[in-house]
């Protein structure tokens, strides 16, 4: 019987050795270890053994069963590992094939930069004001210290609306929103107002009859010209990084006094002078100044108590500078191959 047991063990091990499928392994388990299996069949003959032999054979039988079980289990692990390795290999894909994308759109570059500027100003406590694009002479000119025969009106190339005796027009500047805001709000006032403006300029690489400005206005007690400088410097550093430098030049706008034009160190050469900035080192960026006392008075704000500053920046110029766009027309043609780049 001892020989039988040993034979079974050898046979089982041999058969396990040659087993290559998990399914076959189950059959082997049943064949050797099952209720009707070979080992059970031998153990059923235990009764025939002498009492001396019984514990010895019993012990041996248990050992053989444990050995076979352990051999089956380790074979099972090996086969499973094999199968998984095979499957993983089978499932290997070319990870350089392109991904499948969900449709996703793009904001227009004008909106992108406008949003950035809005966020910066909102962080500084500026609300966003809107005003009409078609406005009256009073709000666009007269209240801004540009009376009807003022020579500065010549530079504004205004579009007028038919049948209104030149009283209604397309706003030439977002400064008109200053007037609307000051008429309806009491100081302190802190607003920016982005929007479309219109001037009779023929279309070319740097001109368009429609473009965008962002107006800014701050009115309060004790607002100083140095505050204007601080605010604009903060804006530009946030937009263009800490290395950019601003240059303030005296200029004239009827609605501010003192007035200035603000240049930024050239995006290309950083101030050394190159062809992009015409050897100037600086690029003209925006107009600004301290709100003219007449404008405050026109809007019902006491200019002996309050002061303020205002600025108007051209959005197109900032967008073009930011993305190195050399032709303004691209912004209004809306070619998808252009739009997808932002």
């Amino acid at each position: 019987m001892k020989e039988q047991l040993e034979k079974i063990e050898v046979q089982a091990k041999q058969e396990l050795e040659s087993c290559s499928e998990i399914k076959m392994l189950d059959d082997l388990r049943i064949k050797f270890l099952g209720k009707k299996g070979e080992l059970t069949a031998i153990l059923k003959q235990m009764g025939k053994l002498s009492p001396e032999e019984r514990p010895v054979i019993g012990q041996l039988a248990n050992k053989v069963r444990a050995d076979i079980e352990s051999a089956v289990n380790s074979k099972l692990s090996a086969l499973r590992a094999n199968a998984q390795a095979f499957r993983l290999k089978e499932e290997t894909i070319d990870i350089t094939l392109p991904g499948r994308t969900a449709p996703f759109g793009k904001l227009h570059p004008l909106t992108k930069v406008e949003n950035e500027i809005r966020e910066i100003f909102m962080g500084m406590g500026f609300d966003i004001a809107d005003g009409p694009e078609i406005d009256d002479d009073y709000h666009v000119f007269e209240a801004l210290n540009l009376p009807p025969d003022h020579p500065a009106r010549d530079t504004q190339d205004t579009f007028y609306i038919d049948g209104t005796d030149e009283t209604i027009l397309l706003r030439t500047q977002t400064s008109s929103v200053q007037v609307h805001v000051m008429e309806t709000q009491k100081p302190p006032i802190r607003i920016i107002s982005p929007g479309r403006v219109f001037r009779s300029d023929a279309v070319d690489a740097t001109h368009s009859p429609l473009f965008h400005q962002i107006e800014g206005l701050v009115i309060d007690k004790g607002i100083r010209m140095s505050d204007l400088k601080g605010t604009l410097e903060m804006l530009m550093k946030k937009l263009y990084g800490n290395d950019c430098k601003l240059r303030f030049r005296p200029h004239h706008f009827p609605f501010t006094e003192p007035s200035c034009e603000v240049d930024i160190s050239c995006f290309n050469c950083g101030g050394k002078g190159c062809s992009m900035c015409k050897d100037e080192g600086y690029i003209e960026l925006l107009g600004a100044g301290m709100v003219h006392p007449k404008v405050l008075e026109n809007c019902g704000i006491d200019s002996t108590v309050y002061s303020g500053f205002a600025f108007g920046l051209g959005l197109e110029r900032m967008v073009m500078g930011r993305y190195d766009i050399n032709d303004l027309r691209l912004l209004y043609e809306n070619d998808v191959r252009f739009l997808e780049q932002f």
């Binding site: 309060d220 006094e257 019902g300």
Partner: protein, 820 residues
């Protein structure tokens, strides 16, 4: 304004590199556009003397010259010119020289004879006869200048000035002059300004025997000074004067015209010179024109005048339009013997309005309309006389006429408050420094007041004084500060809403576009609008750039179609675009304006309003797409997802044909378009572009647009989102396949199911619509999966079956049967 640096040197001695000068003046407020050095392109051209001229051995029309050029030996030059003789002084371009047009001259052989350079004509030096009237146009420039052999040509003929172009803003007409810019220069560099009063000797004579002058409108002409020069000699002015005029961008003409221009450029005071012969009745009136009166101005154009224009007239006719331009027949001629000089002050608004009406501009008008110094009329007349005597151009009468209505007691003063200025600028400039800056600019300080010089017509208030101080102190020396006070910014609900729309459109695959607000009126026909469509009533621009941008759009859809067409024609296979922008809708009624409480601004002033109303400017979300898998349901799906995001439920899509609100329906396919309704509000219109419109826009693929009205969307959007508890009990699902007439829209089936199943209905999903084989002609099969759920407990089969039974009964009522 072009400034000659040589001329500037008469008044201020500034000795710095030109680039530094331009930068310094720009930073102190006189912006330099550019500068140009005369003779810049000229290299290695010198003064030479012709020693001999002999015929060329191989040519009839060439000659061989030996020319002395200040070197050890003369050079041999072959020329084709016929006007050179031994002894002539000529410009010689040596071997290796450059002409102003960039051409390089090298030695070579002309028909076998060596030539070591070129003799130059005026044209080859970039000049013309006006610069050197004695020279001939087509030949070598035979020089009559005082110069040395071998001298550089530029210095020899004065072609070495630098002209600086300033951009002078409209508030500073005083800087449209050499003296004005000299003052700015002196103030910038803290240098003395040397202006001396002009002096002339004159000859005895009473001007009243020659001329009478009367100002009939002293409001518009507050000063008129006139003087007489007799026995005049009309000739070219001297070289120094011609050079300065040229560097200032003014063409030299003759000595008298040049003198008027010279004084205008120097002082900013326009001058006028006319021939006394043509002043009929020897009397000058400054009067308003008579309606219909005519004058031919110096530019040769006849102009009809009106009674709000001011003219200089003799007894019979106008001889000049005041402050703008003289008449053709009163100008200085070759044979003029007696000249009248005028130096006057006209009201800026008067000159401006007349110039605008006549569409006539001149250098004089550019100065008058902005405002010249009223007190320099006489000084400038004297300066003209000084120049006449210096040029020996005639005899100046020692008496003048001065009609003077100026108010000499009225001094322009502004409060001087250095403390306020420092507070306003955020600076700590010592008062003494401020006074110094102001003095340099011509201001005086007395008794706490700034006395404004008469040439500074722009100074009115203390902020103006602050600017003067700031610009000399240097804007860039003002510190940068954070302003006081705190504020918290917030988007308005509308701004938030628009931002959500924009972000949603992007997340659904839309590319944002930006289009012009104005369009061509041709779009009406392009989108098939009927003649009486309200969209044809537009806000029109009186002075558009062209027809393409002449009306404000009443619909955003044509702008979208233009962009779709542009992309299609640029071979972009597909596009999904959107824009958030305005329409401009005219408001008819004129305003009946009465000032009341609501119409007062902050300080109780009435709000300024006009009879005409501003148009409405409602915002629209416009979507457009073509290409790829695009069909009606793709664009519809996009609108549905937008509605979901802004929390609008229960919208209806109704055939667009039936709608009276959106005339864009004519641009759409009648069978594939819809208006979008919610509780009777018209939210928008959507559909496939009508084939005819597609053709009009040159698009060969099916194209889809949608327009959503943002104000209406905002009204319908639910701001509040309420959480629904997650279900505790399982759902029961039943599938229904129905046969129904093809015309019946599925929305009706859904409505019937929804009503019949009632509260336990969770979701209806349409998963198939089929027409064709096995289905009777004119019918369609529609399949739904209906999911039901109760919040009280698990639904029993009986409950679900009973709900289905009710649904089938309701469906039967609209002719839908269960598919066998």
């Amino acid at each position: 304004m072009n400034l000659s640096m040589k001329w500037l040197a008469d008044y201020v001695n500034v000795d710095v590199p030109i680039k530094d000068y331009c930068h310094a003046l720009t930073m102190s407020g006189s912006k330099v556009e550019c500068y140009e050095t005369e003779g810049k392109g000229i290299l290695n051209i010198v003064v030479g003397k012709i020693l001999s001229v002999v015929p060329h051995e191989n040519s009839d029309h060439l000659v061989v010259c030996q020319v002395e050029v200040g070197k050890d030996s003369p050079v041999q030059i072959v020329t084709g010119a016929s006007n050179v003789n031994a002894g002539d002084i000529v410009p010689v371009a040596l071997d290796g020289s450059t002409l102003p047009n960039g051409i390089k001259i090298k030695k070579g052989k002309l028909r076998g004879v060596e030539s070591n350079g070129m003799l130059c004509s005026l044209g080859e030096l970039g000049l013309d006869k006006r610069d050197f009237p004695y020279a001939i146009e087509d030949g070598i420039f035979i020089m009559q200048e005082d110069c040395k052999i071998g001298q550089d040509i530029c210095s020899a003929i004065g072609l070495n000035d630098t002209s600086v172009e300033f951009e002078i803003t409209s508030n500073r007409p005083d800087c449209l002059s050499v003296i004005g810019l000299a003052r700015e220069t002196a103030a910038t560099y803290n240098l003395p300004l040397n202006v001396k009063a002009p002096e002339y000797k004159g000859v005895e004579g009473d001007i009243n025997e020659f001329l009478k002058i009367e100002i009939k409108n002293a409001e518009k002409c507050r000063r008129y000074c006139a003087g007489i020069v007799k026995n005049v000699k009309i000739e070219p002015s001297p070289r120094w004067m011609r050079e300065r005029l040229r560097a200032s961008g003014v063409r030299p003409i003759n000595n008298f015209v040049d003198i008027t221009n010279y004084v205008m450029l120097e002082y900013g005071q326009p001058m006028h010179a006319f021939d006394l012969r043509y002043v009929e009745g020897s009397k000058i009136n400054i009067r308003n024109a008579v309606n219909g009166e005519k004058i031919v101005t110096l530019d040769g154009i006849e102009r009809e005048l009106a009674d709000d224009m001011l003219v200089i007239a003799d007894e019979k006719k106008p001889v000049a339009v005041a402050g703008i331009m003289g008449g053709e027949y009163s100008g200085i001629m070759e044979d003029t013997t007696t000249v009248v000089f005028e130096s006057a002050y006209f009201e800026p608004s008067q000159v401006r309005c007349t110039s605008k009406k006549l569409r006539l501009k001149s250098d004089a008008c550019a100065r008058y309309e902005k405002g010249v110094d009223p007190f320099i009329s006489m000084i400038c007349l004297k300066r003209a006389f000084e120049l006449v005597e210096e040029l020996g151009a005639g005899e100046v009468l020692n008496t003048v006429i001065d009609c003077d209505y100026l108010d000499y007691d009225k001094k322009n003063t502004v409060e001087f408050d250095s403390k306020w200025i420092n507070e306003f600028l955020g600076t700590e400039i010592p008062e003494a420094d401020m006074i110094d800056y102001l003095n340099r600019l011509g201001f005086e300080i007395a008794d706490g007041k700034v006395i404004v010089p008469s040439f500074r017509i722009d100074i009115e208030c203390r902020a103006d004084i602050a600017e003067e101080v700031a610009r000399i102190y240097g804007y860039n020396n003002i510190p940068s500060t954070d302003f006081r006070g705190v504020a918290k910014a917030e988007f308005t609900s509308e701004q938030k809403f628009v931002r959500t729309l924009r972000d949603t459109a992007v997340s659904l695959g839309g590319y944002e576009i930006t289009t012009y607000s104005f369009v061509s009126p041709k779009y009406f026909d392009k989108i098939r609008l009927p003649e009486n469509s309200k969209l044809r009533k537009t806000v029109k621009i009186v002075n558009p750039l062209g027809e393409d941008t002449s009306v404000m759009r009443t619909s955003t859809i044509p702008s979208m179609l233009d962009v779709l067409s542009f992309n299609y024609n640029n071979r972009n296979e597909k596009a999904c675009l959107f824009e958030i922008s305005k329409e401009y809708l005219p408001v008819d009624e004129k305003r009946n304006y009465a000032p009341d409480e609501a119409n007062l601004v902050n300080n109780g002033k009435p709000r300024h309003e006009y009879e005409y109303q501003l148009p409405d400017e409602p915002q629209r979300l416009t979507i457009g797409m073509y290409g790829g898998e695009t069909d009606f349901y793709v664009i519809k799906g996009m609108t549905e997802q937008i509605f979901a995001e802004i929390n609008i439920s229960g919208v209806e899509y109704v055939r667009a044909e039936t709608c009276e609100v959106f005339d864009e329906k004519y641009a759409l396919h009648p069978g594939r378009s819809a208006v979008i309704l919610k509780d009777g509000r018209h939210l928008g219109i959507i559909g496939e572009i009508h084939p005819e419109v597609q053709e009009n826009y040159g698009i060969d693929v099916k194209t889809y647009v949608a327009k959503l009205n943002i104000p209406e969307l905002m009204e319908c959007a639910e701001n509040k989102i309420t959480y629904r508890p997650l279900p505790k009990f399982p759902a029961t699902t039943r599938d229904l396949s129905l046969i129904v007439d093809d015309e019946i829209p599925v929305a009706e089936l859904e409505k019937a199911i929804r009503k019949a199943v009632g509260k336990i209905l969770e979701k209806i999903t349409l998963f198939d619509v089929y027409k064709g084989k096995q289905i009777e002609e004119g019918k369609k099969s529609v399949s739904y999966s209906i999911s039901m759920r109760s919040h009280e407990g698990t639904l029993t089969d009986e409950q679900a079956d009973s709900a289905m039974k009710k649904a089938l009964k309701a469906l039967a009522d609209i002719g839908a049967e269960l598919r066998a």
